[in-house]
Symmetry: C2
Subunit: 228 residues, 2 copies
């Protein structure tokens, strides 16, 4: 029993060490890095497509895509006009700092303003792993129901920004905005919650403004905000 | 390195041994056991609520609920009129055979016709763990997008039944039924795909018929079908 506990501790430390290496590389390159996580199908790739289309002429962006299988999301991002690099995890339920470090071999960080890391679609495992990101973004969508924050509290507690997507479907679901916001604030009192529909474009402007502001801070060499 | 490989092997074997113990207990009790898995918010609990309301007078049912936190789902099931037992996994991303065995201490299997196990909302990790179930049910819902089967292939490959929920939202999304069915059949050619809306009740009858037929097979003491 003691042996397996020691083993687990060593693995966590290695992962943390690599995350610190990533923080350092991102800060030196003055690139804003956001780690996006959510359930499968909440709209991570749709949000990045919209961002590519609407911010692609203004900022130099790239995306690292994490999926169990296929390079569909990387292809979608490329079609929206920005470079993307697909990591297939096989059975792996989250991206690791090691995988992100390896992906960085494929392009020059110094040429970028913003790097998005789209994690594996999963509200559980990705929340436990620091990828060196400046900001962690958790997406939820109205058809999933308003109780997801309290049912997946680690993801929402550790987030720096919540995106509530698919507000165009609000009237067709039983979702309560008040309940959702109450649950989010209970776990993470000051977090921004950006409501939008990536399908209709409504509310996406607030996200673009948030990305611009975060990018400006990163471009000035600001240290990563302390993590929870 | 060799040591950690041996350790992993031993852990898997223990989990498999406990799953075989569960298969044996379920068969002896002649209870039909289904393990439900999906993304967060696809409608597992809603499906079980509908099942409780519409089949609760005909069959003796219970639900084992798996969640990271809260007993909200167990409460919803109880309000729908059948017993439920909540397992909170803490950070755990799936239910284990050990947790199901422990939950069985709380009730008498022999008094049941059907036991549903609602796994943690996650399309990745639960797919790797046998809980001794006769049938494995994977839910998807139209707002998640039609590409989920190929992006989470293990879950759909190992499933015995696919439920496609929220068809009432079909027109409001970009979901293609043909694409979804093609992806499912590519991974799992003969699997039944039951389309429904737990919110409107449309299509739920097909699911109730499927449950009845599976329950009859289990009541006759039929062996568990071979797993992929």
């Amino acid at each position: 029993m003691a042996k397996s506990i020691r083993l687990a501790k060593r693995v966590i430390t290695e992962s943390d060490r690599l995350a610190v290496e990533l923080v350092d590389r991102f800060r030196k390159a003055r690139v804003f890095v956001a780690n996006l996580m959510s359930s499968p199908g909440s709209g991570k790739t749709s949000l990045l497509e919209e961002t590519a289309r609407r911010l692609g002429k203004e900022l130099r962006m790239a995306v690292i895509e994490g999926d169990l299988a296929t390079d569909r999301d990387a292809q979608r991002i490329r079609r929206a006009g920005i470079p993307s690099y697909q990591i297939n995890t096989g059975g792996g339920c989250h991206l690791s700092a090691r995988q992100v470090l390896d992906a960085l071999e494929q392009f020059d960080l110094a040429t970028l303003d913003v790097l998005f890391i789209e994690n594996v679609g999963n509200l559980v495992c990705p929340a436990e792993f620091d990828l060196g990101e400046r900001r962690r973004v958790v997406l939820a969508s109205t058809p999933e129901g308003d109780d997801k924050p309290i049912k997946y509290p680690v993801a929402f507690h550790k987030a720096d920004c919540v995106v509530l997507n698919k507000i165009d479907l609000l009237a067709a679901t039983n979702f309560s905005r008040e309940a959702f916001l109450g649950y989010v604030r209970g776990l993470n009192p000051k977090i921004p919650v950006l409501e939008m529909s990536c399908r209709t474009g409504e509310g996406v402007q607030g996200w673009l403004d948030w990305v611009r502001a975060e990018r400006e801070a990163a471009a000035k060499g600001a240290a990563r905000p302390p993590k929870r």
